[in-house]
Every structure is written in structure tokens, then in C-alpha cells.
Amino acid sequence: MTKLTYIAHDGTRFDVEAENGSTVMENAIRNAVPGIEAECGGACACATCHVYVDEAWTAEVGEPEAMEEDMLDFAYEVQPNSRLSCQIKVRDALDGLVVRVPERQG
């Protein structure tokens, strides 16, 4: 299991144990992290699972692919560390990953 931390917009921390191969979005939904809507269910088609990757983790998490970058156009307050959490797959190297939930989704 890989440890992930979500920080909700109000500052509440959610520490969860995630299975490798699942997505950061799926674990947010499973653990009822507020502010992750995932309207399209993980198809990279809606930009409502937008998160900010903690600066210490941006290199390891990596850059969005073109399709995700396109969808990010629809997100709220996009920053250089913005990602769609449905496109981040959990793996060993992400143990300890911290992501922040934006004020709102679109």
C-alpha cells in the first residue's frame, strides 16, 4: 500500500492507504475527500478532479499528457502544478505524495 495525503481547501488532512495501480482520484472518492467531484468517472473528460501537486512531488508525479493538458483548460485557477487526479496512477515511488484540493472544481 502507498500512502497519499489530500489537503482539502479548508486545510483538513486526509491520510489514506492506496493500492498501486489505482488513481489518485479514485482514492479521493473512496475516502470521501471533499472537493473532488470526478463528474465523468475518470475518463479525463471533465476536469472536476483537479488537484495541485505539492511542490516537492511535481518532478516525481510528472507532467500531464496532451489530452489532460487540454482538459485542464476547463479547470479553475490552473497553476503549473495542476493535474487531474484521475490521470495520476499510484505507484511505490509516490509513497507520501501530497496533493491539495482547489477552492472549487470549474
Binding site: 465523468c40 475518463a43 493538458e69 487540454d70 483548460d73 479553475y76 490552473v78 470549474g106
Partner: protein, 343 residues
């Protein structure tokens, strides 16, 4: 004003469940008319993820979302349903004889004995961009689509977005607008390369300006925009003249006017019973992702089951007193005749 369209069953939403409802209702001799806000059948399957595979349609180990829609269209073809696309249902009233009269946002009128709401996550509507205070300008200076190009003549136009709509309207309105500023958060576009090249060529010739950044503020009074502030670009905050704005931020799903129909609601979903999938108003049914009942799963296959049971109840309203004989398509010659099966 067009004539009222009469049908047995009015289906709101032409996604997979609305389409399969036509099949089940058709087997029981009910004629359907479908209304959808999109310009084609398929709902989310067609609009959001046409190429994505679905793995839990019984009998199809894998099928693309668009592939499923195509197959459903083929399956319901014998029942010749009518479609009205690009329309949102607005009002509903129940006439004295029990018939429902439903109007669309463009004024078409429908009369049906039964209304089936198969609206999924709601109707697709343009997403409001995260610009503070934008609501005050909507419908006066801020528009989410172009109905008449003339409305933009002589205006300082700001178009926001990076897809085909943004690029196409930038190119099409540039000749008649006073000025055009295109704003997109990055220099790459998800639009036809030809349009992007044309836009950059026009920028070279100073026929329009393209700014990288996000709109952070609006200024104006009484709904009339005067200027917009763009932040995040290389030059810091930039103020541009803006008397008309066209934001293209994709679509979101909203329940819309159905919420005003007087139906009981449960967190924006429509509660139904699990025998008939009928709402709190007899004669109005809700199937698929839009309904709610204990144990509800938002699966296409659940919606298919729901419409089969709903059709039985709808038949009792459309043809009261008529005995419903339960039959299998495999063996019933009368069902096969309806399906156009040749022996």
C-alpha cells in the same frame, strides 16, 4: 409558432437509456419522441468519452461508448422514433385529460400521455468560467454561444478558450468586430491546426491580439461590459477593452428546468419506486443516472432493466384497460413483426 407534436411517450434525453427505452416501449406499441440538448444521440457516451471502452454491457466483453450508441440506434430503428436535438425541455403542465404538455426552450410544444426523464447527469450546458462577477453581465455582454453574428458587430470582443469554438468564432467575428482579443491560458490549442495558423497569421497582421493568460476581472456597469483584466501573461496584468465576451469553457451537466416541475428531488436526483420507476407525479417516469432509489447503481445495465419495467407501467397509462401479454422476442411472432424480422 409550430404545431404541437403529439406522441405516446416523450423521452427527455437521448443517451443510452433513453434510446433503449424506445425499444422497450416500442415492443409494447408505444411511439416515442426524444428531446436532447446535444446535436446527436448518445448523451455522455457520445459527448464525453466516445472512444472509451465499456466492459460491463452484458454480452459485450468490450465496446466503445460510441459503438454502443450506434448499436442502440440500430436496435431501435424498427420503431422509428422521432428526435428533436439542440433543445432543452423547459416547462411541463398536466392537462385536464391527464396529458402532459411540455415546451422546449425554443418554444416547440409536445403533448404526450407519458413523460420519461432519461436525462442522465442533467442537460449539458456551457460552463461558467471562474471570473468574479461574470453573472451580472450574462445575457447582456457575456454570451456562451453565438446566435446572431450581428450582435457582435462593432464591439470590442474578448473570446476566451482554446478549442475549436473559440478559434472559429475568433476568425469568423474578426471581420465585423471593432477589435478581437483571444485569451487562452497557454500558447497551445486543442483546435484544428489550420484555424490556429490562421489566427497567428492574423495576429501578425495586427488584425487581432492573442494573449496568454486567464481573465481575472471585469469592469462595467448595468450589465454592460467595458473592459477585462487578463492576468498570468508575460506582461503581468493587462486591461483590454471589452464590450462583448464569449467564454468557451466546455460543458457541464445541470438538472435545469426539470427541477421546477414539482417532482420530489433527492440531492438533484429524482426518487422513483423500483416497480415502475415512476416519480412523485404519476405518468412521469425517471430512468438511468437521473433517478434514485435505495441501492441505486449508476450503471448503463441498471438503466436497461429500469426501462423494461417502466414500459409495462407506461403501457397501462397509454392504453388503459388493454391486457399486456408478456412475450419473448426470441419466440413471439408478433414482437418479431414489430422488429421487422424476416422468417
Amino acid at each position: 409558432m409550430t404545431d404541437t407534436i403529439k406522441t405516446d411517450v416523450l423521452v427527455v434525453g437521448a443517451g443510452p437509456i433513453g434510446l433503449f427505452a424506445v425499444f422497450e416501449l416500442g415492443l409494447l406499441d408505444m411511439k416515442c419522441h426524444l428531446i436532447d440538448i446535444l446535436d446527436r444521440p448518445g448523451g455522455q457516451c457520445a459527448e464525453l468519452y466516445p472512444e472509451k471502452p465499456i466492459y460491463d454491457i452484458p454480452g459485450w466483453p468490450t465496446i466503445s461508448a460510441q459503438g454502443l450508441v450506434d448499436k442502440l440506434m440500430e436496435q431501435i430503428h424498427p420503431f422509428k422514433p422521432d428526435f428533436t436535438f439542440n433543445r432543452m425541455v423547459s416547462s411541463l403542465e398536466k392537462l385536464e385529460d391527464g396529458t402532459f404538455r411540455v415546451a422546449t426552450d425554443e418554444g416547440e410544444m409536445f403533448e404526450a400521455k407519458v413523460v420519461v426523464i432519461a436525462a442522465g447527469g442533467g442537460s449539458f450546458q456551457p460552463k461558467r468560467p471562474p471570473i468574479p462577477g461574470i453573472e451580472a453581465y450574462e445575457g447582456k455582454s457575456v454570451f456562451y454561444s453565438v446566435r446572431r453574428m450581428e450582435d457582435f458587430r462593432g464591439h470590442d470582443l474578448v473570446i476566451v478558450g482554446g478549442g475549436d469554438s473559440a478559434l472559429d468564432w475568433t476568425l469568423n467575428l474578426q471581420p465585423i468586430a471593432k477589435s478581437v482579443t483571444l485569451v487562452h491560458r497557454r500558447p497551445e490549442f486543442r483546435a484544428a491546426p489550420d484555424s490556429v495558423n490562421k489566427m497567428y497569421a492574423m495576429q501578425e497582421m495586427k488584425h487581432l491580439q492573442f494573449l496568454v493568460g486567464q481573465v481575472s476581472g471585469l469592469a462595467g456597469a448595468d450589465g454592460q461590459l467595458a473592459s477585462a483584466t487578463i492576468k498570468g501573461g508575460p506582461d503581468g496584468d493587462v486591461e483590454v477593452p471589452c464590450t462583448r465576451m464569449l467564454p468557451f469553457f466546455g460543458l457541464t451537466m445541470k438538472l435545469g428546468p426539470i427541477a421546477e416541475w414539482g417532482l420530489n428531488l433527492h440531492e438533484n436526483l429524482i426518487p422513483v419506486d423500483t416497480e415502475k420507476f415512476q416519480t412523485s407525479i404519476p405518468g412521469i417516469f425517471a430512468v438511468g443516472d437521473i433517478n434514485w432509489y435505495p441501492g441505486k447503481l449508476k450503471l448503463i445495465l441498471s438503466g436497461f432493466h429500469e426501462v423494461a419495467l417502466m414500459a409495462q407501467a407506461a403501457k397501462r397509462i397509454v392504453s388503459p384497460g388493454e391486457r399486456i401479454v408478456f412475450q419473448y422476442t426470441t419466440s413471439s411472432t408478433s414482437l418479431q413483426k414489430k422488429l421487422g424480422v424476416h422468417d
